[in-house]
């Protein structure tokens, strides 16, 4: 497709990826890493439990020991077995949570980079007063917390991790301005992952309902519930059939979504929430198959969804989507001259008041009122 090099319009761009200096245990850097965690965990002033427990005073806390948080059985047992969170324990756990505590509710697959782990541990440590303030000798036989960050933690991120300097042959734009450069096939492939209802864009792959179930339990159930019923205010994925005419419609994949491609596309680009693009294409096929099963759209656990049969599956609510016809509503009829005097009988009565409901801005509102997620 691309003919490199192309005589006049060729430039060479050296893409040197430099590894950032490895400062293991940098709390400031850890704050950024913590962005990956904060969909589920809060830390700092006023932190409370979210999907996961709050992490203030984590160091020295017994596993499963945050009051008021509903832990997995596995985590509680780990605590009863004597696990107390410290730097070493957290470092192991964060690399692969499920390897250390089989059965933990934490859906996060783990931090891949040692640097990230050391940094986020250092960051969390700043919210554990006892440890953060402890003098050197008392810090569990380790080097002092304040200086550990800079000096003693193992030098993570070996040089091998930094990509070798790559040379990229660049073809300039042929447009009127000659700005920009031609996109390369691998670049397009990396970003162009959208899938259309007719199946355009589907990758080669497959997965069954049965394969999807454990993937869902590990990655999705923490927010969406074991059966797609939704935890807290997180989206409900299954059920709701026959509710669209009711006062409180439940709009799920099965009851509302017009196309299956949307499920595949969205899961692949944005889920699991906070760890996007971490699932394989086969995982996404399996999850999509499992979501069909949760919505009673297939009933065979061995049903296999693939790029071959994908576009043949129709969603029940597809035909109920109609074009925008707001312009045909009576209040938008052409030539309406708005009334200026004697427009309604006196006295004008108040028929509804916000103060009666009193949900401004805190408190429990009408669950169905917003629908913003």
């Amino acid at each position: 497709m691309l003919k490199f090099p192309k005589s006049a319009a060729v430039a060479v761009l050296a893409l040197a990826a430099f590894a950032s200096p490895s400062l293991a245990g940098d709390a400031d850097a850890g704050k950024k890493v913590f962005n990956k965690c904060k969909a589920c965990h809060a830390v700092g002033d006023g932190a409370s439990h979210k999907v996961g427990p709050e992490l203030n005073e984590l160091f020295g806390r017994s596993a499963g020991g945050a009051e008021g948080y509903k832990y997995s059985k596995a985590m509680i047992e780990a605590g009863e077995g004597g696990l107390i969170w410290d730097e070493a324990g957290l470092t192991t756990f964060l690399a692969k949570p499920k390897a250390m505590i089989k059965g933990t509710k934490m859906a996060f697959a783990g931090l891949k980079k040692d640097d990230d782990i050391a940094n986020v541990v250092a960051y969390l440590k700043t919210f554990s007063q006892d440890v953060a303030a402890a003098p050197a000798a008392e810090a569990a036989g380790e080097t002092p917390v304040e200086t550990a960050a800079a000096s003693s933690a193992p030098e993570a991120a070996p040089a091998a991790e930094s990509a070798p300097a790559a040379e990229m042959v660049v073809e300039k734009s042929q447009g009127a301005f000659g700005l920009g450069r031609k996109a390369m096939p691998d670049e397009i492939a990396a970003w162009d992952i959208d899938v259309r209802p007719d199946g355009l864009g589907l990758p080669v792959g497959k997965g069954t309902v049965a394969e999807g179930e454990p993937i869902f339990a590990d990655n999705c159930a923490v927010c969406h519930g074991d059966f797609g019923e939704g935890a807290g205010r997180w989206p409900v994925l299954a059920g709701g059939q026959g509710t669209l005419l009711k006062d409180r419609p439940v709009k799920t994949i099965g009851s509302y979504w017009p196309y299956l491609s949307t499920v595949f596309d969205y899961v692949r680009r944005a889920m699991p929430f906070g760890n996007a693009r971490s699932l394989s294409d086969d995982d996404v096929y399996a999850l999509t198959a499992y979501l069909l099963y949760l919505n009673d759209l297939v009933d065979d656990e061995e049903f296999e969804l693939s790029n071959e049969n994908f576009a043949t599956i129709k969603m029940p609510n597809e035909e109920n989507f109609v074009p925008d016809d707001r312009a045909s509503e009576p209040h938008y009829a052409k030539g309406i001259e708005p009334c200026m005097t004697e427009c309604k009988p006196a006295p004008v009565e108040i028929t509804a008041r916000a103060q009666v409901i009193d949900v401004t801005p805190e408190g429990e509102g009408d669950e169905n009122a917003g629908g913003i997620d």
Binding site: F177, A183, W257, A276, E329, A354, V359, E362
Partner: protein, 427 residues
């Protein structure tokens, strides 16, 4: 108050109390001041104030300026029960505290689907691919070499007012109408970029994609993309704020905010729409017969009185009162705004002041002499297409109560004799 050990404070309090006793100021509380007691006048005038005697801070104390400390209450606010988590949520512009038509950058409401992406502009790329002659990649530096334009546009979330479909719920125009802002954008017309890549004749749709953790996507018809869309890198003269898509966002003037993809990284040309999550499961409008409208892109003609409003009560009693508000339409300019103080029995035309630009906020005023009696305030906008803002009941008659999006119904504020304002609905 007077038991303070600090003689200066004691003196201040006494002075103020005596002054108030003199009855010169009515109920209004004024800031305490140092100086002699029993002044024959406002001590803020008759006594020398600290700021009038001592030097203030020099230049460079705040290299990037902040609002006055006395404006600390003018902030975006959210409604915690509305969403699961702040990283996929919304907050609201404090419309009741603002005037004119431009929203300050730091007060523009935020809506994220996967938190604020933090991107070094040197690391940002914009790709154009799909049905084009040459798929292209631009750096920010490349984009700033295209001819650029400055345009004032409002951006309104389609869910603005979504909590009010079933009745008055939130007591404040920040919450009922604050999913909107209006700034001047600087950017490159989208058509220049598309022309640079060369759109093939069957390229009828555009998919815009963000670089955030939600990889936000929306399908946009090519006709709109080639009409007035902008790829913007500045707002109100400065770089986009991080929460508004720094370093690059799409502007889709007059159309629902969800389409204004932030952290814009990719534009794909295709021959059909993509039916993405945000244009199927969300941002579709459920009707009473179970049908759902899709591709409801245009934001309807709409207005709201921003003051008085529940968060901006009348504190000065009867007499001259400025009724002020905003009006806008995704179809063009606002031709007229009518205001009623009696719940819609009689209307009078308000005065539009300031620029009247297409697909931008308009500021209106009605200056009245309030007699201190109860009022039911409403505003009604009419745009240059002749579309008239409907009542909430007209909308419900046409769409039922489950549409969530595109609620542009007329808002009613009840003002009682004390100037306290409440969000209500009327017969």
């Amino acid at each position: 108050m007077v038991d303070s050990a600090d003689p200066k404070r004691t003196k201040q309090s006494a002075s103020r109390r005596d002054f108030l006793k003199a009855g010169l100021l009515g109920g209004a509380a004024v800031a305490a001041s140092a100086g002699a007691a029993r002044a024959a006048g406002d001590p803020l005038i008759t006594e020398i104030q600290d700021w009038n005697r001592y030097l203030g801070e020099g230049v460079d104390v705040a290299p990037y300026g902040k609002p006055s400390e006395f404006e600390a209450n003018v902030v975006r606010r959210n409604v915690p029960w509305l969403t699961s988590d702040p990283v996929s949520s919304i907050n609201f512009t404090p419309l009741h505290e603002l005037d004119g038509i431009i929203t300050p950058n730091g007060l523009c409401f935020e809506r994220h689907h996967g938190g604020t992406a933090v991107i070094d502009p040197a690391d940002h790329r914009l790709m154009i691919n799909g049905l084009v002659d040459t798929p292209l990649v631009f750096t920010m530096e490349d984009l700033k070499r295209f001819p650029r334009e400055n345009r004032v546009y409002f951006l309104e979330c389609a869910a603005n007012g979504g909590m009010e479909w079933k009745g008055s719920q939130l007591n404040g125009c920040q919450f009922t109408h604050g999913m909107i802002h209006c700034v001047v954008y600087t950017g490159v017309p989208l058509r220049y970029l598309l022309e640079e890549a060369g759109v093939k004749t069957n390229g009828k749709w555009l998919l815009a994609e963000g670089a955030d953790a939600a990889a936000m996507t929306r399908s946009i018809p090519m006709e709109k993309a080639l009409d007035d869309c902008l790829v913007a890198f500045k707002m109100n003269g400065e770089a986009l704020r991080a929460e508004q898509g720094y370093p690059l966002r799409l502007c889709v003037p007059g159309w629902e905010g969800n389409m204004w993809v932030k952290w814009l990284r990719r534009l794909e040309v295709g021959d059909e729409p993509w039916a993405q999550r945000e244009e199927t499961s969300k941002y579709t409008d459920l009707l009473p017969d179970g049908k759902a409208r899709r591709h409801t892109w245009v934001m309807d003609v709409k207005s709201v009185i921003t003051s008085p409003s529940p968060q901006a009560p009348v504190t000065h009693g009867k007499g001259p009162l400025v009724i002020s508000g905003l009006a806008w339409s995704g179809s063009g300019t606002i031709k007229r705004v009518d205001v009623t103080i009696d719940g819609g029995r009689t209307w009078q035309q308000a005065r539009i002041d300031g620029p009247s630009l297409p697909k931008a906020l308009h500021r209106f005023y009605l200056d009245i002499n309030w007699d201190g009696s109860e009022m039911l305030l409403q505003s009604r906008a009419i745009d240059d297409q002749g579309l008239v803002q409907p009542t909430k009941n007209e909308l419900r008659a046409a769409r039922g109560g489950n549409s969530i999006y595109h609620n542009n119904g007329i808002q009613t504020w009840h003002v009682n004799n004390d100037g306290v304002v409440e969000n209500v609905e009327v017969s």
